[in-house]
């Protein structure tokens, strides 16, 4: 199963892992990544993040990334849980999990999914400041460079 959920609520990493492995009982390798809100302790002016998305397109885009990962790496299952709304420092933002026969494909697929999620899934982050103002986060060219690695030999 290749699933994507967008939610405002927090997620439990243990539950997300259990759900993933239940979809891939024969898998010998599971890799997961959790993205969190950085603790801005050196920048006390930032109190948290607000995440906006494009309902419908976000799920569709992530599902397409998961389907590409399945074809490219032959993985057994993958899941994405991504939060939206207001988040505080150290909150979970995203869970990406991959289950596969062997670890190589699982590691690669997890990076592949995360790289394309960051560069193509329609989410927008805003930093919330203690002053009550907010600042939109700019896209990083490093993220595009990471994603472009995958198009080198055999993007399918």
């Amino acid at each position: 199963m290749f699933t994507c959920v967008i939610q405002t609520d927090d997620f439990d990493v243990g539950d997300a892992y259990q759900h993933l492995v239940s979809q891939a009982p024969k898998a010998g390798a599971v890799v997961f990544f959790v993205g969190r809100v950085r603790d801005y302790c050196d920048s006390a002016t930032i109190t948290g993040l607000s995440l906006e998305h494009y309902p419908g397109m976000t799920e569709r885009t992530i599902q397409q990334i998961l389907n590409k990962a399945e074809r490219r790496f032959g993985i057994d299952a993958a899941s994405v849980v991504h939060r939206v709304g207001v988040l505080e420092a150290r909150d979970n933002i995203v869970f990406v999990g991959v289950a596969s026969a062997h670890r190589g494909a699982a590691f690669d697929a997890a990076e592949f999914i995360m790289d394309f999620l960051k560069t193509s899934a329609p989410f927008w982050k805003k930093e919330l400041l203690a002053t009550g103002e907010s600042v939109w986060v700019e896209a990083r060219h490093q993220d595009n460079e990471r994603a472009s690695r995958w198009s080198m030999p055999s993007e399918r």
């Binding site: 993205g35 995440l51 906006e52 998305h53 494009y54 419908g56 397109m57 976000t58 569709r60 885009t61 991504h82 933002i93 995203v94 995360m114 999620l117 960051k118 560069t119 193509s120 899934a121 329609p122 989410f123 927008w124 982050k125 939109w136 986060v137 700019e138 896209a139």
Partner: protein, 82 residues
Amino acid sequence: MINIRFFGQLRERLTTESIELVCDVPISVGDIKNELFIKSDAFSVHLAQPNVLVAVNHEYATVDTLVNDGDEVAFFPPVTGG
């Protein structure tokens, strides 16, 4: 009628979440932009930025993509999720 939506910083700069455009179809995304540029200075400034992305019916599109009656077009800045 075509439903046009805006997201992220672009939505804030335009102070508009969505508008409906009545026009002859099919119409290209590029021509939709031109129609919007005429509507207000805010559109001609912010929508014309080279980094603005576009989707038609939840799929990434280009200025050449053709749009039909009932379609949904979205304009938004580079994405920053994950």
